[in-house]
Symmetry: C2
Subunit: 333 residues, 2 copies
């Protein structure tokens, strides 16, 4: 019988679940609104209900385990969420303990930071399949990051590695939400990028974005930049190129430090594709050490947010079979 597991993506707005077949992908999915503000027990209950539904949908009603991707840090043992930033009122919650009791089937429950889970999903099911090591950067509301090294998540000393969004590209640059000057998120995070674009385009009255973004461009989103760029709008393309250059700058530092030269770019803003990735590649050709410039690859993750669910489920597969790195498609080739 093929192996199945449940992946959970615990977001501040939506709580998603998927039944995943190992090596194949998502068989079934469900989404509910996260009951933020109703206490942690209610959310644990929501997760348990989703897990029950996924198990019921699995062949023989059997799954190997449950993996949960969650914002913010988790502990080294992957059992406990530590002060998740978008779940107000949560402190340290031992999800493994709470869920294993509730689900009551002796299923292993593994928790991982959502950016790490997404990278694992990309590694085993997405754009990361060809690479045994790669950097993942996710351009969403925030800028998330993760490192896959030799088929595993590089977790650092406490499990918190990969915060590319909070690496600085300018020690006198704009602050991110933590007060880190010039953090890449302060250029590439959705709100920051939208604000920059708004000011950059306010006086460019020839730009098509004015027809999309309302009076004074108040409703501008990165998606509109992409749409305008696709329609041939030069000012929108310039803004995306500005963002791509910043992306290339932070990736150059990352590559120089890690000697990992494959990059997978995910998240909503990455849908701008070549408008943002080509300028990033140009910056990489200048700012990566000459001896490392030879084999750089920057690709877009096309599975979208599914990599988070896939990677979360994959944590349960990995738990059961710690040596399964060899089962990755690229290794089997």
């Amino acid at each position: 019988m093929s192996a199945h597991a449940v992946g959970i993506d615990l977001g501040g707005t939506n709580l998603k679940a998927a039944l995943v077949q190992r090596g194949e992908g998502i068989l079934k999915r469900a989404t509910v609104e996260t009951a933020v503000g109703e206490g942690t027990e209610r959310i644990i209950e929501q997760i348990a209900e989703l897990v029950d539904r996924m198990i019921a949908a699995s062949p023989g009603s059997h799954v190997e385990g449950v993996g949960i991707g969650t914002p913010g840090p988790v502990n080294w043992e992957r059992t406990t969420v530590l002060n998740p930033p978008n779940l107000p009122g949560w402190r340290n919650i031992d999800m493994q303990d709470a869920l294993e009791e509730r689900v009551g089937l002796g299923l292993p429950v593994i928790v991982e930071n959502d950016a790490n889970a997404a990278a694992l999903g990309s590694a085993y099911y997405g754009a990361g399949v060809p690479f045994d090591s790669f950097i993942m950067i996710t351009l969403g509301t925030g800028v998330g990051g993760a490192i896959i090294y030799q088929d595993e998540i590089f977790r650092g000393s406490t499990g918190a590695a990969g915060e590319i969004g909070h690496m600085s590209i300018d020690f006198e640059g704009p602050m991110d939400r933590y007060g880190i000057a010039g953090a890449s998120e302060a250029y590439l995070g959705q709100h920051f990028l939208s604000r920059h674009a708004r000011y950059a385009l306010l006086t460019r009255t020839d730009s098509h974005v004015h027809e999309l973004a309302g009076a004074d461009l108040a409703d501008l989103t990165p998606e509109m930049l992409h749409d305008a760029a696709e329609a041939g709008d030069e000012p929108a393309r310039e803004v995306l190129a500005w963002a791509g250059h910043k992306l290339g700058c932070v990736l150059s530092s990352t590559i120089n430090l890690l000697d990992i030269r494959n990059v997978v770019v995910g998240g909503g803003v990455s849908q701008a594709g070549a408008y943002i990735l080509d300028p990033a590649r140009a910056a990489l050709r200048r700012y990566v050490m000459p001896s490392l410039r030879g084999h750089i690859e920057v690709v877009r993750e096309t599975l979208g947010n599914d990599v988070g669910l896939l990677g979360a489920a994959h944590l349960a597969f990995k738990q059961r079979s710690p040596t399964d790195a060899s089962s990755r498609p690229h290794s089997a080739a």
Copy 2:
């Protein structure tokens, strides 16, 4: 019988050798001028002669192997030097092949990048002993870096990881020798720092540095800044604080990416001690993610260049006993 190995530090000016006793340190050392320009065979011969002298000095004339620290990249197998930047005319040289033949004793020969070797020396004999993971940054003519993760060198995909000196802290900053804008070496490398200090102090005629650095401060070195700072010179302290801030900026990005929070600072400029490290620590308190700020340690490597020789020799010990991580002092505690 205690284990002994030979460490070699292959520099563009000097070629150094040491006989190292495992867990104890350097028993004997020798230095010759590197025969740059006389061809690679001559340098191989120089190394072989030094190895012979070290073996002759060892108890029972027995050593376990030879480790060589070399500038620039080495191949993944640690046998071959790839285009070393300060040995003009060298291409790819299989040092293992050349030396194992010449030494003729069946001794293993391992080659490693000199920054990585220095970090290994620090990990087993120096300021890195208390840490199972740390970042090493060496402030010399250039700015070198290395990552020790779980008692091992983190080597990246091809063995070239750790280039902190070529991470950028300002995408519009000054260029390093590779044209990387705002690279930390373009602030902290000895020539860059001296030049900055010269311009910063030219009009500060009250600075004690004017008594040390000749007309127009033409002979200024970082050492003079340190001497002046020690003597209470405020302008010199300001320049070192400027450098320390830059050091803290690049280390913040490194810590945010790696979740490795111990830092060992080596190299000549690090002798400025607290004048440079305290401002670095202040920057780290601002620019590291809040969740990672709790346990940051920045210490100075006090063994100087000896860590390079110690780490090179240690490569030979590691070769013989791959599980010896447990023999590190901090693990035995």
